[in-house]
């Protein structure tokens, strides 16, 4: 049952049911209902995706002052040439990528200790991380705002990154630990006999075999930092420091009638997570991600 908590990529598709099993479950009646079910899922998916399709469609529809007909890239061009969209995109990329790198760099070693350590302190720390991830970000945001104001970290991408790393590291550590559990200790023992240090076996044996775990942790950190709105709205003040989340929102409020431009920017914002998700889908570990979005 706890497989749910961290279904590993090697042990089958994370989201899917084993094809062989499914085939056996299938009765003849089920076979007949296949196309009926296809129609049902097609309609449901169509309805569910209406907001997303509308966003994409409007983004490529000629704007109110446009002479273009049919679908056009004009809105995208305008958004980049006439607004700070490029700066916002750059800010989002810098913040998100730094968050991903630092989160993994902090969570991987800590996750290793959680996975291999066996003292009371280690299991206590594991509980502490778990409780911390479920707390509302709003509680820490106010004190951090005051602390960061004194350090010049308000309205600053570094300040934003520090908070993102702080809020991803709890779950990221759990995800890494769960992955390291799947790497047999005997592999490390062999390296110790060859004279490897504990740190050496961590980097050379464990980490080297953990690409799927690292990737799923990285995806999680990416989504959290890229999609965040609460921390951004508290900590970012000036237009040129905005991330895309703030940009889209400010743009939406100021240009409420200019839907085509708003949607063009919205498409720019939703593209990276969709691409990341579509290409790295199989590395998603369900349970780890689960705990992760508590702050959303």
């Amino acid at each position: 049952m706890s497989a749910v908590l961290h279904a590993h990529p090697e042990s089958g598709p994370t989201l899917g049911v084993d094809a062989g099993k499914r085939r056996r479950v299938l009765s003849e009646a089920g076979q007949r209902g296949r196309w009926w079910r296809f129609a049902a899922i097609l309609i449901i998916t169509g309805i569910v995706l209406v907001p997303i399709m509308v966003t994409i469609l409007l983004a490529f529809t000629p704007g109110p002052n446009s002479t273009a007909t049919g679908l056009t890239f004009e809105n995208l061009g305008n958004v980049f040439s006439k607004t700070l969209a490029a700066t916002w995109l750059k800010n989002s990329l810098i913040t998100t990528l730094s968050t991903v790198v630092v989160s993994v760099a902090v969570a991987a070693p800590a996750g290793y200790v959680l996975s291999r350590g066996r003292s009371k302190a280690v299991s206590g720390y594991s509980l502490l991380l778990f409780v911390m991830q479920s707390l509302p970000i709003i509680t820490s945001v106010v004190p951090l705002f005051i602390l960061f104001a004194g350090m010049g970290l308000v309205d600053n991408l570094l300040g934003l990154t520090i908070i993102y790393v702080g809020s991803t590291m709890t779950v990221a550590t759990w995800m890494m630990a769960a992955y390291f559990d799947s790497i047999p200790i005997s592999l490390e023992e062999a390296s110790w006999i060859d004279g490897c240090s504990v740190f050496g076996s961590f980097t050379k044996v464990v980490l080297r075999n953990s690409l799927p775990g690292v990737l799923s942790t990285a995806i999680f950190a990416f989504l959290l930092a890229w999609n965040d709105y609460l921390v951004a709205i508290v900590f970012l003040r000036s237009n040129e420091i905005f991330t895309l989340a703030m940009g889209v929102q400010s743009f939406f409020q100021q240009n409420a009638t200019d839907w085509t431009s708003v949607m063009a920017l919205a498409v720019v914002m939703m593209l990276p997570p969709v691409i990341v998700f579509a290409t790295l889908n199989k590395y998603f570990s369900v349970g780890g991600i689960g705990g992760s979005l508590a702050g959303r």
């Binding site: 961290h6 009765s27 079910r37 707390l135 820490s140 790393v165 998603f284």
Partner: protein
């Protein structure tokens, strides 16, 4: 799924797989490695501990200070004891927000569970292009809330938006989805279910995948109906996983800020103000730091209880 991949972080920490700690290692090497390991472990854990103290520990303690003092964002005032809590607990706005948060959470958790369960069961059967649908149905959860709330706004906000127009053409009147307090609450909850059901679908799909199909073959040979198979076999087998996802989703719903704030801003007439939105507005719009942090603190205490319950559940399920 092999046994090594099914332990959770907790059982691992408890069972202890310290280098040299496994029984096979000779005693001498074990103690040598353990000493070295302890030192290495300390350095490996240090960055994580520093961050936890800075980003979680310090703010929590400082929040406790602020909740018991008057003053504003820039200056902590005098110690006022539990007065902020008393102010908060005696204000109707707090109870209204608490009530909304409760309904929002109940609808969010069970709404997304029901939709997720239905779709997970449907997708479990063989459907042409089933995997494509699986990925497409996850999109509401992957797309940033800033983006999807904008799209929802376009769909429902004004009387001339797409959905109200559709209602009008069907002769159902022109509902003001975001202007009417009741309808706005419903809209926010439907939006939340739309955002969250993919998560439930993933959790349930993963749980269903681990159910052994021979159980169903045996049951259908014994003449069990579809419904009996579902209620007597499927549901009990995924019960623990459901329970865990309910609690997780409860935490997500209580903590949720953007889905509410971006769609309605908490209005109209505070109808969709949840506790997080109220805390945010109290601190950053009314500049009443003490009461705002007090609200956040009350939420924190509730969530600590919920997450400890969850921790126990996960520990239980990893022991099984």
């Amino acid at each position: 799924m092999s046994s090594t991949t099914t332990q959770s972080g907790l059982s691992r920490a408890r069972r202890g797989l310290a280098p040299g700690g496994s029984g096979s290692a000779p005693g001498k090497r074990r103690s040598k490695l353990s000493a070295q390991a302890t030192k290495t472990f300390f350095w490996l854990l240090l960055p994580s501990v520093v961050l936890l103290v800075l980003i979680h520990g310090y703010p929590l303690i400082y929040a406790a200070v602020q909740a018991t003092h008057d003053g504003d964002l820039l200056q902590t005032g005098n110690f006022v004891g539990a007065q902020n809590f008393a102010t908060v607990l005696s204000s109707p706005a707090f109870w209204k927000a608490a009530q909304f948060t409760l309904w929002f959470t109940i609808v969010g958790v069970f709404g997304s569970w029901l939709v997720g369960l239905g779709l997970a069961l449907l997708l479990r059967t063989r459907i042409p292009a089933g995997n494509t649908f699986k990925v497409l149905l996850l999109l509401p959860w992957v797309v940033p809330v800033v983006v999807s709330s904008t799209a929802w706004n376009w769909l429902v906000a004004t009387p001339d938006s797409l959905v109200p127009s559709l209602f009008r053409n069907l002769g159902l009147g022109t509902p003001l989805f975001l202007a009417d307090p009741t309808l706005a609450s419903v809209t926010v909850m439907v939006f939340k279910v739309w955002v969250s059901f993919p998560f439930m679908m993933m959790m349930i799909s993963a749980a269903l995948a681990s159910v052994d199909s021979t159980v169903y073959e045996a049951a259908s040979m014994d003449g069990a109906s579809r419904w009996q198979q579902f209620s007597q076999i499927t549901l009990p087998l995924i019960a623990r996983s459901n329970y865990i996802s309910w609690i997780l989703m409860t935490i997500f719903c209580v903590n949720d800020f953007p889905t509410i704030y971006l769609l309605t801003g908490g209005g109209p007439v505070n109808a969709t103000t949840s506790l997080v939105v109220l805390a945010y507005r109290t601190v950053f719009q009314d500049f009443a730091t003490g009461p705002g942090v007090a609200i956040a603190f009350l939420m924190t205490m509730t969530l600590v209880v919920i997450s400890v319950i969850l921790y126990r559940q996960i520990r239980k399920s990893s022991v099984e």
